[in-house]
Amino acid sequence: MSEGKEITIALAGNPNCGKSSLFNALTGAQQKVGNFSGVTVEKHEGYIDYKGYRITVVDLPGTYSLTPYSPEELVTRAYLVRERPDVVVNVLEGPNLERNLLLTTQLMELEVDFLVALNMMDEVEEKGIVIDIKQLQQLLGCHIIPVSAKKKSGLDALLDHIIRVSQKEIKIKKNKLFFTPSLEASVDKITALLSNQKELELYNSRWLAIKLLENDREVYQEVQHYPVWVKVELALQEALRDAERQHDSEPEMLITEDRHAFIRGAMKECVRQPGEVKATVTDYIDMVVLNRVLGLPVFLLVVWSIFQLTFTLGAPIMGALNLLFGTLASHLRPLLPNEMLRSIAIDGVIAGVGGVLVFLPNIVLLFIGLSFLEASGYMARAAFVIDRLMHRFGLHGKSFIPMITGFGCSIPAIMATRTLKSPTDRLATIMIIPFMSCGAKLPVYVLLTGAFFAPEVAANVMFGIYFLGIAVGLWTAWILKSTILKSDSEPFVMELPPYRWPTLSSVLFQAKMKALMYLKKAGTLILGAVIIIWAISNYPRNEALDAQLLAETARIASSAAGDAEKQAEQKKLEYQVNSAQLAYSLAGRAGMVIEPVIRPLGFDWRIGIALVTGLATKEVVVSTMGTIYSIGKSDGESVDLKSIIKSDPAFSRATALSLMVFVLLYLPCVATLGVMKKEVGRWKPVVLYSVYSLSVAWVLSFAVYRIALFMQ
């Protein structure tokens, strides 16, 4: 690829204008997802080779205007202003041109090289809307190319024009949007002040002037650094007075109104809407889905369906994966002669990687479900339906999406909080997600309810545990939002996009991207964590025990007993030695150290060990208990943990309840803590959270234990 034949273009447009479909149609599979520098906003980038050019396409987050309101919009603007792509492609939703044009007027002000991709032309024609493209081109001062991302039509024409614009072979003269005369005078005055400033060369002076008049905080902070500010500030105050005196308004309002006036004019001149009015599919669907009476039941049904999809469909795949890793481990065992190597490979790496992969089917299914809801347009409606309830606890309607994701796994759920604009809303939501009982905690409940409750009660107990998690979460949110996170919560002003039937490929693509992100983030963290936990549950080793194991093994081998008997005795021996080793290891000692603390909750040091190792991932609680509770079991048959703990005198129904509550509420797994830190950016909230969750877990477990003992 020769130099100069590379073009970078950016797609800018309103949310739901079909920008992402166009991006997919243009770049196909050549995409990657990263983050914009320094922020947790996803950056979708792809490329296409066309007529000897390599065109890099950046899909900017959807935005209604270039006055930043959310992190996504800030990113979009910063990218356009600072990174200056060669060509900006403004994607417009053809059927709803009027409100899409606001962003276009702002691109005109920015004086970037841009062109318009008039998307959804198929729908425009279907609806009988007639757009005079030639005339509109003159008014907007840019090329307009009709396309349909869905039908993949007009894409070549778009690419041809992108190349032409990048080569400056533009035939259409840029147009300028003029404001009300008095305001225009203020703009001119400030533009003149700014235009000979070397430090501000990077920016278009007129754009800076307009933004200052719009009270744009970011631009204020930028210009304030320079000496010219003194004069600019005077001019701004004068403009404010003029607007007040002549229009009884503010420059900010006047500017917006003038933009809209321009748009109205353009619409009148160039667009003919059909006279007849038809209720759309969206109207009909919403009559049911957002109905006063049916709205909530529909919402619950949707959430329930997502769960069914995730767990019912996921369970067999999960089982198969478990089996696969089990088989892999047993085949690998004889191949590794070295004891330590074998242990690292099987108990460390396979257990670790397996632990991540086993959850992948559930997570992929969950993401497919959520992507479908998002792409279809229901997600915004769900926020609409549930906002009142969430708002009562200081949260936002949109917080519920991460919350339900949390029932699957906290990691993607924490990542999903990125849709929340207000930092305090976001932090509060992140802090309550681990209380939503995740999939990895389920095996613990299954074991304990199975051992201590009749099957018909077990389900209710489990439901109670989930419910307790939600209650503690909401309570925590309420506390946080009325104390340390007390600040303006995010206003609820939200578009409910028209329903669209999502394409399978885009849903799968979204799910794939999210799954990869999960694998990358969680994979490295969980793998690391599991290896550490492996190390602390195996070291230091008690040499005497190892020697004893060898000696006893030799004794059994040489004894006169039959093969079956020998095998049984050998198994029993290994259990004993392994359990003793675990007790001797760091994890075991930690268990014993914390025993006095957890004694009031009905836990002994063995449960303590399980709680420590459970920090790797929660289902490890079960496997660790499996190892420890094998002490003293002499039958050597397959160990049924359920019946062991049932007959263990240290274990009672009260202990089981207390343990479930504790597992539900105490520290999330280390991977979750790691992701929390990454998303929040600081350790302090994570540390505070850890202390808080441990305290809540302790207090509630204590209460549950005492009450249960009393009732027994």
């Binding site: 209604y64 309101y69 609409f384 009142r388 002003v493």
Partner: protein, 97 residues
Amino acid sequence: MRLSELQVGDRAEVTALKSESAVRRRIMDMGLIKGTSFKVLRVAPLGDPIEIFFKGLYLALRKNEAEGVLVRKVGEPSELVGQQELEEPLLKSGGRV
């Protein structure tokens, strides 16, 4: 009168935006400015937020946010007849009757 005081089915026109600046900015960016006519479509099942429709956009906002939007009612829904109806930009953009 305030947007928050309108009933489901009411049509109205924005006369002024008095919300706190970030909210006002947002509302204006969505295209709801002085002079925009809209229709109140529904109230959420739990009583808040409300949904309005204008320029092909379905917008949900909390009553709290709607308080800052001052409006003038455009005729009672029952008296909506011929002429006035045709002038409604609402109807031109594929909305509902």
